[in-house]
């Protein structure tokens, strides 16, 4: 069941220079599953399309999104405060498969990290690999409560000496198992990480690399894709991705990210 509602804001806080955490209250939370997303609408009548944002976690009737300011719409969203309302529709799409058993590599890159918290909380035996572009390690401590965490940072030097001490501290404290300078694939290779399955969310180049690596190494991979959306519910056919086979709904070789996705078996889609 999907709901369109005016959700009350419980809490808004900044997690990194351009990353915000927003808790809202409403019916969507009760039905949301890891890997699903919500459509968030701005109050600005000149910006009419939804911002599709993945669900970071839920608690009862409360739902949390963690998002990056990508433009004026998300900047306005970051200005909303406790007690304000925001128009949302959800939960949308299909999440990561709940039936997968055994250890899973949960791979999150950049603003693809938030849905991994919801996913990690829903299962045991998580090997969590997080890729950050700089040492603003948002959601790291929260994720470390639900599995062994390995991090990759592309530009660790950005915070200088203090930053390396900080990372040393995280290793000593046991918050992270390893630190790699580079991307999530570098971290996976450097630490010889493996599992029967992998769930990934992040930028397209990362997902392409994960798909290739998992294919070669016999790991069953699921990826969460992103595309510009309009209706968010599968009617307008804006947010499609190429598919290996003819899709039964579309009748052609593409699938709707908002309806059949956003999570797909990696081998079935063209990234």
């Amino acid at each position: 069941m999907k709901y369109s509602e005016s959700a009350r804001i419980i809490k808004q806080e900044r997690l990194a220079s351009d990353v915000f955490s927003l808790w809202i209250e409403g019916r969507i939370a009760e039905e949301a599953r890891p890997g699903q997303f919500i459509a968030v609408y701005t109050k600005d009548p000149s910006r009419l399309l939804p911002r599709p944002i993945s669900i970071c976690e839920t608690e009862g009737r409360r739902l949390r999104i963690v998002y990056r300011i990508a433009g004026e719409g998300t900047r306005q969203l970051s200005g909303l405060r406790e007690g304000d309302t925001v128009e949302v529709t959800g939960p949308l799409g299909n999440g990561f498969p709940a039936e997968v058993k055994g250890p899973v590599l949960l791979i999150g890159g950049g603003i693809g990290i938030p849905p991994m918290l919801f996913t990690a909380k829903s299962r045991n035996d998580n090997i969590i690999v997080l890729g950050y572009r700089d040492p603003e390690l948002f959601l790291l401590r929260e994720l470390s409560e639900y599995g062994r965490v390995h991090i990759a940072v592309e530009r660790p030097q950005e915070c200088g000496r203090e930053g390396s001490e900080y990372i040393e501290g995280l290793l000593k404290e046991g918050i992270i198992e390893s630190f790699t300078k580079g991307n999530v694939l570098d971290a996976i290779r450097e630490n010889g990480l493996s599992a029967g399955s992998a769930f990934a969310c992040g930028p397209a180049p990362m997902l392409r690399a994960v798909k290739e690596y998992c294919g070669v190494n016999g790991i069953e991979a699921w990826v969460s894709l992103e595309e510009r959306m309009a209706c968010g519910i599968g009617a307008c056919l804006a947010c499609v991705c190429g598919s290996r086979d003819i899709d039964p709904h579309s009748g052609v070789r593409n699938k709707r990210i908002c309806a059949e996705g956003p999570v797909f078996k990696a081998e079935e889609v063209i990234i």
Partner: protein, 309 residues
């Protein structure tokens, strides 16, 4: 409370109210029916359907613009066979069989005259009440808009489709022409039962950081409240040029907007892009039209059609 008449007549087909969906913004209603009641609508206009499945354009297919959006979906559709089996079947099962049921209007597209004619023939034995002929999509390379921008081609295709169609035909006009009223007249003379307008206005958006077009198709069709004044003007011009019904659309976001289109000469209206912003917008449009009628004590909605001259 006084009885208010909301029903309107399009080519002998009665709509319970003048509000329909604009093709391409509503699929066949399947997805929306989870969130709203399609039986509240005058008609559902389905997404364009062609003879064979079409893959559509690459992504990104949409871009947000000020009070509107650009789209270049490229008429992706599963082809007429799947459409009849699945989409029309869904509408048949979902629409209440009342005195005036929500009408089914099937939007037809094609690359050649023959393809349009074949799709129209296949629809003859279905529950489609009316056919809307898309000769104005700006996002496909062959067919579509090529027929809608040339009076000779428009006249020929209208005549051929009219001969083949069992249902009345509505020609959907492009705003990307010099004189849209002339196009409406061409359709009327060639036998069209109604015209609908406007389709989207061709536009472009460039990402200046990446020095790239935002849409993979480079150009796309502009829709949403940004185009409403253009659409109202064109509806006014066409309504003054033809006797057949004019169906108005382009940026409708409220009952008040719908009333404005009717005053400009529209017999019925369609809500398009705003379905994306608010999945309940069509239902809300009907409700606020009734409120307007009550405020101004209008007995019959047809009274306002073309009342501003």
């Amino acid at each position: 409370m006084k009885e208010r008449k909301l029903s309107v007549d399009i080519a002998g087909v009665t709509l319970k109210n003048p509000v329909m969906t604009a093709s391409g913004t509503f699929g066949s209603g399947m997805e929306y029916s989870e969130l709203m009641d399609i039986n509240k609508l005058g008609a559902v206009v389905t997404k364009g359907v062609s003879l064979l499945p079409w893959e559509g354009n690459g992504t990104p297919r949409v871009a947000e613009t000020s009070s509107g959006m650009l789209n270049a979906i490229g008429l992706q559709n599963p082809g007429i066979d799947t459409f009849i089996e699945r989409d029309l079947e869904f509408l048949y099962k979902t629409i209440d069989k009342t005195d005036i049921p929500t009408r089914i209007i099937v939007n037809v597209c094609g690359k050649t005259e023959e393809e349009y004619v074949e799709v129209v023939r296949r629809l003859a034995d279905t529950d489609a009440d009316l056919l809307e002929i898309n000769v104005s999509c700006p996002n496909v390379k062959e067919g579509a808009i090529a027929f809608g921008q040339d009076p000779g081609a428009l006249s020929r295709i209208t005549e051929k489709i009219k001969r083949a169609a069992r249902q009345p035909i509505i020609m959907k006009l492009s705003p990307n022409v010099t004189n849209i009223a002339l196009m409406a007249r061409v359709c009327e003379e060639a036998g069209a039962d109604a015209v609908s307008l406007i389709n989207t206005i061709t536009g472009m958006k460039i990402d200046i950081e990446k020095r790239r077009f935002v849409l993979s198709n480079k150009t796309g069709g502009l829709s949403g409240p940004a185009i409403k004044p253009v659409a109202v003007r064109m509806v006014y011009e066409c309504a003054g040029a033809v006797r057949i019904p004019v169906i108005g659309m382009g940026g409708i976001a409220s009952g008040e907007d719908a009333i404005e289109f009717m005053m400009a000469g529209a017999r019925a209206v369609a809500v398009g892009m705003m379905n994306f912003r608010d999945h309940l917008i069509t239902e809300k449009t009907v409700v606020s039209m009734i409120q307007y009628m009550e405020r101004h004590d209008i007995r019959d909605i047809n009274e306002i059609t073309g009342c501003v001259r």
